[in-house]
Amino acid sequence: MSKQLTRRGVLKSGAVVGAGLAMPTIFTSPAAAYTNEPKGGTVTLGFNVPQSGPYADEGADELRAFKLAVEHLNGGGDGGMMKTFSSKELKGNGILGKKVKYVTGDTQTKSDAARASAKSMIEKDGAVMISGGSSSGVAIAVQGLCQEAGVIFMAGLTHSNDTTGKDKKANGFRHFFNAQMSAAALAPVLEKKYGKDRKAYHLTADYTWGWSQQASIAAATEAKGWKTVNNVLTPLATTDFSSYVAPVLNSGADILVLNHYGGNMINSLTSAVQFGLRGKQVNGKDFEIVVPLYSRLMARGAGKNVKGIFGSTNWHWSLSDAGSKAFVKSFGEKYGFPPSQAAHTCYVQTLLYADACERAKTFNPCGVAEALEGFKFDGLGNGPTEYRKEDHQCFKDVLVVKGKENPTSQFDVLEVVEVTPRAQVEYKPDHTMFKGGSLGKCNPGA
């Protein structure tokens, strides 16, 4: 015992001595106030999106939006949402007078690869901000990296509660909504549409996002009087969901909730529709399917199967406010088709970052973070929005959508059923599903 103690003591004192010795001057980078302080006439942003792997198409759309945003920031194009943005700091002369350059990388939708790619942008290309991504695992991993490296992370598409919940970071900001907000927005609409007395059967992707999505939606619907009959976890690698869908009809449930995203969502939805669930009557009611998180790009993969199925989305191109219209116009004219919600959130995040730099008059992450915290704005497509100081989550209205019955084009897959106001989806920062973890202090690196 005593032996162990002394060894521990030695190790410990070693660490302390080491800490005292730490950082001889040669190891500090020369004279920068923060990581990658831009010195010349340009500033570099890093766009880290999935270019290979199952989310490559969403990644490509995000990249289009980033390019568009950079073009607008540098004064090119028609200015897009810069004209409708409530903050008027952006003049089309880059950020703080520096021309905006960008580098791109491939996350492969793997946390390792995403971090490697982000690291190379920071270490090699001198990026002061990293943005993009199409899954929560990647977002959380890259957010952690940016915190350690001392750059700002403007999350792309990430829907898990954890990104601004237990894994929130001072250098990370999320404009996209989350599972909790989806649930809060959907539940009243579902109640209105399908009634109070419903029995729900959940199929849930067996990993972090799936669990948090399931927990949120189950809690929200149960509060409206629904019962959760069963919750079955499905392995991530499942491609054929028949054995999970088959028992649903016989379970007494009259609603099927698919807590799936991406390929999982397409396949489980296709299975459910193939089994003819939607034509059936259970407990004297029409059987219905709910997909809490919709993505238009993904919904296209499911084809006609999505018709009439409810879900939520962060933004949709058919919105008619000035900001959305301006964005759809400049995106559509440049690329020939309307932008996805992933593209929208990435474009908005880039503008928000640029604007925060202008207002803070610095690229220093701590200054930028301070400018973003509690920032209230409008005109970026979601109505009045606020970056909450406590968890760096944007609060805004949430769209409840359903698969369109008579689409006029291949892009016209979803229609907006209701815009749930912000007050209904807002939760306290210490909500049970967001507990644990803390922002920590902003890290300027260097």
């Binding site: 190790l11 080491g18 350690e148």
Partner: protein, 393 residues
Amino acid sequence: MIDKLQNNDRMLMTLFTLMVLAGPILLAPFGAGYPDLLQRFCIFGIFAIGFNILFGLTGYLSFGHAAFLGVGSYSAVWMFKLLTMNVIPALILAVVIAGLFSLLIGFISLRRSGIYFSILTLAFAQMSFSLAYSVLTPITNGETGLQLTLNDPRILDGANTTGSLPSTNFFGLTMNSTAKFDFLGMVLQFNVGFYFCAVMLILAFYLAMRIFRSPFGLMLKAIKTNQNRLNYTGVNTRPYTLAAFVISGMYAGLAGGLMACTDPLAGAERMQWTASGEVVLMTILGGAGTLLGPVLGAGFIKYFENIFSKINDNVLHSWFSFLPDGLEDLIVWVLHFFVGKGWHLTLGLLFMMVVIFLPGGLLQGASHIIDWIRGKKQSSSTQISNPNSMPAE
């Protein structure tokens, strides 16, 4: 020349050491001289060297080695969370746990050989991945990956009062500190983490060389060429293969531990079978059964993944802007399938070429070229024994 080098250990070792230590200078002109990629070169070099001890020497093709890498990473991160941010205990635990895990899997899988062995290792690795991704989330933090948090105990380091995450360190030298120098318009980055990994790589290489030259290594080569004869020569092949399996598993664990040291996060994807496939690609691409080959292959693939994949259309256009517009567009259009997001395609084609035409890997190709330049027409292919035959039962 490379063959000669392969046989002159002292020269090989010296040259290797110098090249690795000078990495930040040598690779800077190729855009690869930044710490993260340099660290990856070393880490995957170690991984591939270890894999080569199993595959290159005994011929047992494992499709599940990434599992050991993942286990190593998880162990190291847990050590950072619980004990101390010093890398040494983390690495020790990573190697030990990976060793134990490979002992277990090896003990079962090595009861079979040939493709049956490959499928068994694949099955184990896929199981490990599935479990780490979902069921074992309390230990692995699932999809997100295991990360450090502010309220980890870290018994030896004492309470954290800074409000920011501590860095991994080697008795006080933090892994992520970097000295930068401007040199001929390039920024040379000398990073502590890289040099730590580099020393590990050199040690790992040295150990592999000793194994290659030892009676034990000779026995492993004998297993690959004729297991039957070896049995009738009074040698029990099972413990030899198992030892090779465990050694290569420990190499993988070391690599995984180092990954956590340079970047304290452990994700489940690094255990997926495609990650195991990647180390197979590295080893074959470089040259299985050779000493230098796997390191070369690892460097090659990581360079592709990190540099080649970043060449987007803009970059291409800037390269070919001297050409007339139509021609420029045509060339860019053709190339854009192969670079940037098309890098997997190029990698796949290259890999096929190597398997078809250069069974000895790029190393063999390099020695062909050197021989050709020196006007020596004689082929060196007889020197490199066929590296890919599978063991007999």
